[in-house]
Symmetry: C2
């Protein structure tokens, strides 16, 4: 019987340690401020069975903007860096491309020229050159190759190492609590899906982004999908709730953004939602570790209207400088 007792003790100790683990800090890169407490309070509220605020697992949908919310969008959105690097490579192989005034504008960094006109013809041309006319497989390879060689100018790191550690923790924490996490971004779905599962643990089918139709062809080598710019859908601003409905088909209960481009999906998530809901804005206030802008970003990410609306809507505003212990995983832990 002594051995049995020994096993029993082991079992109790083990159970105890499991309970101990459950009480662990799931958001260690967050300071113990209002924002962190708000996230935890919301998750505990909707996962407490028997409570009137309980939300069944199938309805625990959380949506995250990507650029500026899960990783930076400075000095330009990373996908634009990809497009410019790729365009440069293309002109080395096909020098006649350089005769095109829009290609010249892109290579010289003249973004105002690219954005001219109602439909931003120059930018569309650069996107078409670098994102269409190849198969989805060829595009994936191209993005993978770029990610493995390109480095962010300021940090000197591969772009996919620049995700915000506090937000990675939120993604994990939500998933551990039965949430399905989706990206809902103005960035290209095909671009993000190449690395979203590896980098964020978000599978391709949970990535919603700007997209255009492909064309199916059955070739000698097998079936392929050729990327086009047809029926281009820009998943930004009012397009975000539209994209959420098109791809998910129900209202999220949690929404994380950082700019006015996320205002509509924050509204769609939190206003008159029959379920308890949560909205959060990451505010870029940290010039030292990341960037500080709000109304005046270098390229995209302007935050004015959504910030104004936040108090009325009850959206949590994260002050990157004071709310985050560290921004990136490669920083020394617990800097602040």
């Amino acid at each position: 019987m002594k051995k049995c007792m020994f096993f029993l003790v082991i079992a109790i100790v083990f159970t105890g340690s499991v309970i101990g683990a459950q009480a662990a800090d799931h958001l260690p890169s967050w300071n113990d401020t209002f924002a962190k407490k708000g996230i935890i309070a919301f998750v505990e509220k909707v996962t407490t069975s028997g409570s009137p605020d309980f939300v069944p697992e199938s309805e625990r949908i959380a949506v995250f903007d990507n650029d500026g919310t899960l990783w930076p969008e400075n000095p330009v959105p990373f996908q634009l860096a990809y497009a410019l690097d790729t365009l440069k490579q293309m002109t080395e192989i096909k020098p006649q491309l350089k005769k095109d005034p829009m290609v010249q504008a892109a290579l010289s960094g003249d973004f105002s020229k690219l954005l001219e006109g109602k439909h931003h013809d120059g930018l569309m041309q650069v996107m078409a050159l670098t994102h269409a006319g190849m198969t989805t497989g060829e595009f994936n390879t191209q993005v993978k190759n770029w990610l493995s060689s390109a480095r962010h100018l300021r940090y000197g790191k591969p772009y996919d190492q620049l995700t915000y550690q506090p937000m990675q923790e939120v993604l994990n924490y939500l998933r551990q609590n039965g949430f399905k996490t989706f990206i809902v971004s103005g960035g290209g779905a095909d671009f993000m899906r190449v690395w979203s599962e590896r980098v964020y643990g978000i599978p391709p089918e949970q990535v919603i982004g700007s997209n255009a139709l492909t064309k199916y062809e059955l070739r000698e080598s097998g079936p392929v999908l050729v990327k086009t710019m047809d029926s281009l859908f820009v998943d930004d601003k009012e397009g975000k709730p539209v994209g959420i409905h098109q791809f998910i088909g129900r209202r999220p209960i949690a929404c994380f953004g950082n700019s006015d481009g996320d205002k509509a999906m924050l509204e769609y998530t939190t206003i008159q939602n029959p379920r308890p809901s949560f909205g959060l804005i990451v505010r870029h206030t940290d010039a030292e570790r990341e960037y500080a802008y709000d109304a005046k970003p270098k390229s995209s990410g302007k935050l004015v209207e959504a910030l104004k609306e936040a108090p009325e809507r009850g959206w949590v505003v994260v002050d990157m400088k004071s709310d985050w212990k560290r921004v990136y995983n490669f920083e020394k832990k617990g800097v602040r």
Copy 2:
């Protein structure tokens, strides 16, 4: 020590019973023929860890056509029955609608008139009247109400009780083995999402169908999405692999269809797939319990080209009459 031995025996017996349960028949409505054996062999192959055919869970994507594969499409696709019933109701409220020749054609069952012209203008008009111009919430309510009152003429049952029991078992069996099951249908995504989770266990975000854009509005009552016919995408034929890429972003490893409309997605799933793959065609051969057609369906569901291609591609062809013990759940078990 004797007590320890006792617990050990209990543990072994218990483990044994678990193993026994695993060997249970997951496809009881299937006769023990080639088709059933093929499904099981495929699932066992891709889930045996250590085997060269093993496929990680995240890549176990299975796609199912709906009309004719998971439920009938006779005498007309059920969504068309919904449109016609709804149109009839609308003309009772707004009698002036009856002056429209296309509405007249629809109400008198003159489908050839609706399908005239390159863009099937009549059908599009009927779809616009019954599927657009209302909020997504209003549309959901309308579909729910219809489902609860409408009855299939031949069976006298609500439409959502007419799912094929053998295919329900396949859906469950795949999910039990770590597959994510998706619908990829020419039917409307919004229509199917109202009931797909309750009826098939397939959540809205795993339903891919024909779709059009919505328009976001922030009203006094809260945010709404108004259904339009803009950027209509028909998820059929070559549109199916296009839709799969747009919504899932990777190739399925298993595909279930029933008509030439599914040929492209069967090809996309099975030809030169770097992973082991599986294709299956449900052939309507049972006039007694369901319908028998192939080349000559009453409305949609023509099966000629895909059937011709099946042997070369290794697609399993299910003969409904001989492969299925029962078609519907409400039949007496084990009829054949």
